[in-house]
Amino acid sequence: MMAPSARRAVLLLRGLAGRHGGCGAALGQRCVSAEAAQAPLPRPLAPRTSLTSPVEHTAEQRGLWYTLQPGVVQRLFSQGGVPKQFLTQCQTFAETCLMVRQPSLTLMDFIRRSDLSLPPNKFLLYGRNGCGKTLSLVHATHFLADTDWLLVHVPWAPKWRRNFKEVAPSATIEGQYDHPLDAVLWLQHFKTQNAELLKTLQLVTQERYIWSRREVTEPDTPLGELVELGIGRARYSTDCVLALTSELKRHATEGRCKVAVVVDGINTFYSPVSRYRCEDRTLLDPKYFTLFQSFMQLFKSDWKNGIVVGSIDSLANEGWRRDSHLPRYLLRQQGWEALDPFIPIPIEDYDDLEMRSAIDYYLDRHWLQNPQAGSDIGRRELAALSAHNPYLLMQVCRPL
């Protein structure tokens, strides 16, 4: 449990405690201003919660920081999913902590209440840059992993459209293109994330896959072996991914497992341009990427026992299509028609409670060295400089 002083600060802000009920914030102001003149401020403890699994998180934990075990981070996010700058910060702090925020709680609540016998529900997070879409997805992914969902996780989809390692024309499907190395990496990621579940569920292939004259995958082969084949043979890795996703879709429809598709930057699937130049010097439309098609088949409503969680990010689009952060604009007509109806969940900037919690956390981690950082004036200044935006707050606090 968190320290009494920190808990009281959080409750005061919520107006649930305090001598006069509602004016908790005013009370806090009076207390601080009296002390500020006399002595350096006592360092507040970060408002933490000891519940390490998102399964137990409720509205009570809103604004509190929960710690992700190193094993969890290693298992779930070894190939991405957590923003790099945040990861560096976590290495500095020697712990990976995430704030519990309302959008994640709402999302987890929706996931719990989804009827899995119906076509998959789609929940897409949207918001301005730096508000916390990716970290909310991290929270949701952790929740899904802890509730025995099979994860089909795309850490950052635009990487396959813009910064792919290699794209080659497909040998098996005419007119389409492969990502040999990227598919291998993704299969490794899938294996790391779902190692336990694959062992327990013991899913097997239901079709025969002929890779070459000598390499054939018979039906009733464990999916783990299919994954290993894809990792070993880069030439067939993209087709392996396609096979894997199709198999998972079929298994989910037949009720043997529940599959959660988590994609960061889902709007990139409906972008008309990629960085790969065809032989006739035109830029390729990403709809011809087999890798994209493998996941886009999971966005359809023709399977069950599934869920689609994604984030609509303006940075996932091309530079000239980033004017608005709203879903219809970023998804374009094609994306809208593919994903509709979905529940858009807005991610906002920090409110007062979250701002206080964030600054307390930085103070607790000794990140803010300025003695005035924890004071009333200091907090107000930080809020003004960062405009209550989480990413900007991180940037502003860096040199302090």
Binding site: P119, L326, D352, D376, R379, R380
Partner: protein, 344 residues
């Protein structure tokens, strides 16, 4: 004895006595030489430019100026007589202080005295309200009464929907003409034209930028002919043609496709099919209301433009469609944002 004689001699005579070479080198100023002879034995040799005396320019004091005119003006004077016509700004005649211009560093804004900025710009000091009233009164005898039955703007628009405007120019130069006098502008409100839905849509596509949606006004500007009469006839012709063509439906208009539609139509769209699938999968029997509401929300999202409010309505509608509404869980719908200005 000889020295005493030297003292007595005149300066000029002394100069003559000195040998020629010395004369040129030594100072020629008589006073300096007297001083030197009086105080020191040796003359001082000045090397370098002599300090010139600074000549101060002769200051011409102006003749005593009269006080500015406005000091003698009464506060209830007839301003129309003081400033009867358009005139360059004159600071002494204008009775109030006015400042104009970009101030120099550390200085206040330049005042009205010798202010070129104020003099360059046109002023309307000749058109104060009392003067305008007086001029209107003077013009009244040339006016006819306002036609009865045209009191309000609505009535004027009903009887005279079309407004034609042109400007005439008169130059006082070798040519009195101006080529801009041929421009004729025709304005009409689309609500005055008797158009159906298809006619209105076709007309808007034909005129393009000439229609202003905020004022519902179509503006046709003609300047292609040399005479304004010809341009006026052309405007009339243009309006006639536009109206008649909009009322017609050509055979090729039936080839209109989804991408050509001027607004989003939910019926028959993939969105409707998807919503129908959801409803069928959930097994809801009478989902007419639900689908209708959902269709309305999606149509609004597309036609009214996407903003936070329409997206929020869409979210609520989809939650209802998918059966995920919970009376207690209204946190997403009415999530209070941070209150600006409060201490965090």
């Amino acid at each position: 004895m000889f020295l005493q004689k030297v003292y007595v001699l005149d300066m000029r005579a002394q100069q003559l006595l000195r040998p020629l070479a010395c004369r040129s080198l030594a100072t020629s100023h008589p006073r300096a030489e007297i001083k030197a002879a009086a105080e020191e034995e040796f003359r001082t040799l000045e090397i370098g430019r002599k300090k010139r005396e600074r000549f101060t320019a002769k200051t011409f004091k102006p003749a005593t100026m009269l006080p500015p005119r406005y000091k003698q003006q009464k506060t209830d004077q007839d301003w129309g007589s003081v400033w009867p016509a358009a005139r360059t700004f004159h600071p002494a005649t204008v009775p109030f202080p006015v400042r104009q211009g970009y101030p120099a560093s550390g200085q206040p804004t330049p005042d009205k005295w010798a202010n070129a900025e104020l003099m360059k710009i046109p002023n309307f000091l000749h058109l104060t309200p009392p003067v305008i009233k007086r001029q209107c009164e003077a013009l009244k005898k040339f006016c006819t009464p306002w036609p009865a039955g045209l009191e309000t703007t609505a009535k004027q628009e009903k009887h005279f929907p079309v407004t034609v405007s042109k400007s005439s120019y008169l130059h006082s130069s070798p040519t009195i003409r101006d080529p801009k006098a041929r421009i004729v502008t025709l304005k009409v409100h689309l609500r005055s034209l008797d158009l159906d839905y298809h006619g209105r849509d076709k007309l808007l596509r034909l005129v393009g930028e000439r229609y202003d949606a905020d004022t519902d006004c179509l503006t046709l500007v003609a300047d292609r002919c040399p005479l304004s009469q010809q341009n006026y006839d052309y405007c009339q012709y243009l309006l006639t043609v536009l109206y008649n063509e909009s009322m017609k439906t050509e055979p090729w208009e039936h080839e209109k496709e989804l991408v050509d539609l001027e607004k989003y139509v939910w019926e028959g769209s993939p969105s409707q099919a998807a919503a129908q699938n959801v409803v069928t999968a959930r097994g809801i029997n009478d989902a007419e209301e639900l689908l209708k509401e959902y269709g309305q929300v999606v149509t609004d999202l597309h036609n009214e433009g996407e903003d936070e409010a329409t997206v929020l309505r869409y979210q609520e509608s989809v939650m209802k469609l998918l059966g995920l509404t919970d009376p207690q869980d209204t946190a997403t719908a009415s999530e209070p944002k941070y209150i600006q200005g409060e201490v965090c």
